[in-house]
């Protein structure tokens, strides 16, 4: 994320807020889904996260990375929503409530989603079809109506790009 954009985000500039949202909303939503297991509540958590981030922007240190900072806000927000919702659920139903996901996994979800959002549309499409839809390369070639060789090369390029983007996959930030 451009330092100039982050500086303007700190100042509450609307265009900068949009830029930050466009870059991080997918990862924040993915994180929220992994904790809350509900698209509606994840959408609420995403909204609250960005408003909180904007409110707290003056506390953001531009010398540090932005992703772990907004990750912390998003995680706290989703957990708060999860806890509030859990209190409303009758105790005899509590066993049916998701225990949530480990924080390590949540961090991985956030990081992977950030990486996926940096792929080109073509790369993202083939990775999604391969992993999420569990299609083989010939099936992808058929669906996209492109040669099998093109799918293979595109898939390799996409996964190599992902490996580079995930090269910094580290432990969860403090």
């Amino acid at each position: 994320m451009d330092a100039e954009v982050l500086g303007r985000f700190r100042a509450g500039d609307e265009e900068a807020v949009k830029a930050v949202y466009n870059r991080f909303s997918g990862a924040v939503y993915a994180l929220s889904i992994s904790i809350l297991r509900d698209p509606g509540r994840a959408a609420d958590a995403t909204q609250q996260t960005f408003v909180k981030a904007w409110r707290s922007a003056s506390s953001y240190d531009p010398a540090r990375e932005f992703a772990p900072w907004i990750y912390s806000i998003a995680r706290r927000t989703a957990i708060d929503i999860y806890r509030k919702e859990s209190r409303r659920i009758p105790s005899d139903k509590v066993d049916t409530v998701s225990e949530g996901t480990s924080m390590e996994t949540v961090w991985e979800v956030f990081q992977v989603r950030l990486a996926v959002d940096q792929l080109s549309d073509e790369e993202r499409q083939v990775v999604s079809m391969s992993h999420f839809q569990e299609l083989t390369h010939p099936e992808i070639a058929e669906q996209l109506d492109i040669p099998l060789g093109t799918v293979k090369s595109r898939s390799h390029r996409a996964h190599r790009h992902l490996v580079e983007l995930l090269g910094h996959l580290r432990g969860e930030p403090e």
Binding site: E14, K18, Y29, V109, V112, S128, R160, L169
Partner: protein
């Protein structure tokens, strides 16, 4: 070469296990889940911007702007009696000081707030210069404001009977609400225009 092997492992989960296979296995799990691919509804972005706009200007439904001519006339009428009352500040000078300045609506206004913690909350004394009495149907309201965009009223006043040192109260910790604003409000209306503002500036008594 390693990158190619890692890319192959990430794509298929087979072949020679690279050193970072644990991370790549985790990434494969995420890529096969809906979390990696879901998109928040468009309404989320709209709501975020809407909420930020609203909080950028909490007095977002102005009913009436203060007429500069009306302010000027009132200020001339009051003349010197609008000078700051600074007598008897006593121990309050040992408290926390906030300098207040007029906004673009009332640039000639100025003032000083003295904040002191008490058992009941924060006692806030404000001495003002250049703030005219509010017209009938209007009043002033003091606020403390947090950096998170939350405002708490600390009292209302009109100044129609001459200027006195204002005594206001805050039930929230001013350390968490470090900005002080004074707004002009319409009776029975919504929040109106900010006419003065300042930010917590502790007095250094060491000297």
């Amino acid at each position: 070469m390693n990158r190619d092997r890692e890319a192959e492992y990430l794509a298929t989960g087979t072949g020679d296990r690279p050193e970072n296979s644990v991370s790549l296995d985790a990434a494969r799990r995420v890529l096969s889940s809906s979390a990696a691919w879901g998109v928040p509804p468009d309404s989320v972005a709209v709501e975020v911007l809407s909420e930020i706009r609203a909080q950028t200007n909490p007095f977002r439904e102005p009913r009436r702007r203060i007429s500069p001519m009306r302010l000027l006339a009132a200020a001339m009428t009051l003349g010197a009696i609008l000078l700051v009352t600074v007598l008897g500040l006593g121990s309050l000078r040992d408290g926390t000081r906030v300098d207040l300045a007029g906004t673009e609506l009332l640039p000639t206004a100025s003032g000083t707030a003295w904040l002191e913690p008490t058992d009941a909350g924060w006692s806030i004394w404000i001495d003002l210069d250049g703030l005219p009495p509010a017209d009938d149907g209007y009043y002033y309201e003091g606020w403390v404001w947090s950096d998170d965009g939350d405002g708490v009223s600390i009292g209302t006043f009109h100044l129609r009977n001459g200027l006195e040192r204002l005594s206001l109260w805050s039930g929230v910790d001013v350390a968490d609400y470090p900005s002080i604003w004074i707004s002009l409000q319409a009776e029975g209306g919504v929040s109106d225009e900010i006419v003065m503002r300042g930010r917590l500036d502790p007095v250094d008594d060491s000297g």
